[in-house]
Symmetry: C2
Subunit: 386 residues, 2 copies
């Protein structure tokens, strides 16, 4: 196990109707906030009204900035930064899923920086401070509600980059499983797929002697494989929603990757696809991950075989065969969710692999920790994913 | 899953030699601290010198209060409170295992309360504030380094009571696995046993629909069952020490019992044994837990059978048989650690069961959430443990 430093500083408030108490949790930090969200369903279902009512009851002023879209845009982030500065706002309340949260985190970073917030995403500058962020989660999957990550799309340059900093770990996250009831079936599938790949990214590590985290990740995977299909059948079953919401949060809150290196190459590859073709991230991951697995499995056949036997219950004569069947099971799981597992099926053009591969590796020239991938490897993986 | 609110606010600093940086972490909170510890080995091995050197380098004043003993005493807590008040100290640095940490937490609570700190432990008063506590962990097992619990022995009245409050969750915990190298073999076994029972207490829940936490607890158990015996054989193997240290921490930091009720009856019963006979807590748990399991297993045979099959790999014809064999495996695990599993073997007198049972239930009249236990039940369990 490697050295690590970790603090899970987010107060999780989990349960039925908890969003109605949002004012109480905001009041500990601020009396003037930016409410930042996307989907119109928040208005439609009265969720926004309930939030603003709770804020008003706690004498908290608010300004609303809506219009967040999947693969959240830098232009909207900049608009949010301007509003916060003009209105002297010191707290961002994100309402939604990963897009609203990541956009809120970007605003929080930008307000405290007098140059271009994009500098943090390209690695040109390191953030020193940020506004505080709180979350009312309505779409699980991204795990952003407890994470130190924010991923933003620079739509002018077709770039999708992320940053990790403890400064943007949310102060609180309100998780009401009932919020899942109204998630469109396709987005629910994408969230489940995204969550599984968050666990995979951590599972595929070059770090040795990580017995405890292996077992924890495997446990979370098994829970997701058990609950995911049940939730798809009964999307308004509170217990299934609760299980999924919590799995999605812990899959990405840092508790599963202490003392070990994670891979993240597949996420980088998918970001290039969604930056160019604007597909939902989880749907992209269902395509990229199996292809990545097929390409890299001989890097550590023991680990692939361990996944297959411990998580998917594969019993087979050789590690090679077990690994092969394990990857098939992953594809079957995605397909059972109604997702595509090839680019062609998903109507993603297949003529820009070289551009994507080059952009994915950036200045470093490679991606991935489990196996280093250079542009030629990425092109191979995209070819497998065709 | 039940509603919950959770915040894991402790900064974990994990790795080789990290105790040498203690001053940096203290400096974020205070410039005058009480160093509180027990065992002479801390001086002997030069650990204390390294800590004070780091404090000095960070211009932090300190007063030392040693003499913490297992089942830490109220009288020493009161001495600590007086010192902090006289010396205007606002931070306690606990160095050691559960005893030093719990004693430090009690001091932290007492300094900010103008009556008897014992009031918090008897439930007569609720704490409103506390000094901050930091931890340098040298003996894993108690899990107190990230927990909200403190358990203190009132030696005059032969009472051992605990309190849970977020106020005493440590600000930081420095975990250097190398510290395990010098733990006496018996105490190491006690720590492993204690950790397993922390997982059991959470596993045996009346709460339904806790698939994800079940899998996480089972994962932690499997890791402990795998690593524990290896560590006993090679107590200076860094990787085994690291795995055990981390399992012990997460077993008790609240991450495994979100949304579910835990039992804790066995801990209450053991506290009565160690309050009277001053045996090490983990050794007491190895005696009480199997007896408790035998007595309560029919309360939820599915759960006992699930433990047996998923964690101990028991394959058997009926749930009753699987449960029976599972409990045998638990006893075997404790015995393989060199621990006793009956009171008689451990030279604990068996003539005060009625007194212990009555004291264990306190004013509530019963203990336990998985199964309510009244004094007559506790006496039965103690008889099984004879």
């Amino acid at each position: 196990m490697q050295n690590f430093e970790s603090k899970l500083g987010t107060r999780v408030v989990f349960g039925k109707g908890k969003e109605n108490e949002v004012g109480k949790y905001v009041a500990e930090h601020s009396n003037k906030v930016l409410i930042h969200y996307g989907g119109d369903y928040l208005k439609e279902y009265g969720i926004l009204d309930r939030l603003t009512q709770s804020l008003e009851e706690n004498s908290i002023d608010y300004i609303i900035l809506d219009s967040v879209v999947p693969n959240p845009r830098l232009s909207l982030v900049k608009k949010g930064i301007s509003i916060c500065r003009e209105q002297d706002i010191d707290f961002i309340l994100a309402v939604g899923g990963g897009s609203a949260i990541d956009s809120s985190k970007a605003i929080a970073l930008g307000v405290k920086y007098d140059k271009d917030v994009w500098d943090f995403y390209t690695g040109k500058a390191e953030p020193k401070e940020a506004l505080k962020v709180g979350v009312v989660l309505t779409i699980p999957g991204s795990g952003s509600e407890m994470s130190e990550s924010s991923i933003i799309t620079n739509e002018e340059e077709n770039l999708k980059y992320g940053i990790d900093t403890e400064l943007i770990v949310p102060e609180f996250a309100i998780l009401n499983p009932e919020m899942c009831y109204t998630i469109p079936p396709y987005l629910l599938s994408c969230g489940i797929a995204d969550t599984l790949t968050h666990l995979f990214e951590r599972y595929f590590t070059p770090t040795k002697n990580v017995v405890i985290t292996d077992y924890l990740i495997e446990g979370a995977m098994k829970a997701l494989l058990e609950i995911g299909p049940k939730l798809k059948k009964e999307p308004t079953n509170y217990d299934y929603c609760a299980e999924f919401m919590w799995i999605a949060t812990i899959a990405h809150n840092g508790s599963m990757d202490v003392g070990r290196v994670s891979d993240w190459a597949s996420h980088r590859i998918e970001h290039e696809i969604s930056a160019l073709y604007d597909i939902t991230h989880g749907a992209g991951m269902a395509i990229v991950y199996p292809a990545w697995m097929k390409y890299v499995k001989n890097q550590d056949i023991d680990r692939f075989s361990q996944l297959a036997t411990r998580v998917f219950g594969v019993i087979h004569s050789s590690k090679e065969e077990a690994s092969h069947i394990g990857i098939q099971k992953v594809e079957e799981f995605f397909r059972a969710l109604g997702l595509k597992t090839t680019l062609t099926e998903a109507d993603v053009p297949i003529d820009k692999f070289e551009i994507m591969a080059k952009k994915a590796v950036g200045e470093a020239g490679f991606i991935g920790k489990f196996k280093k991938l250079y542009p030629k490897d990425i092109i191979e993986i995209l070819n497998i994913a065709k």
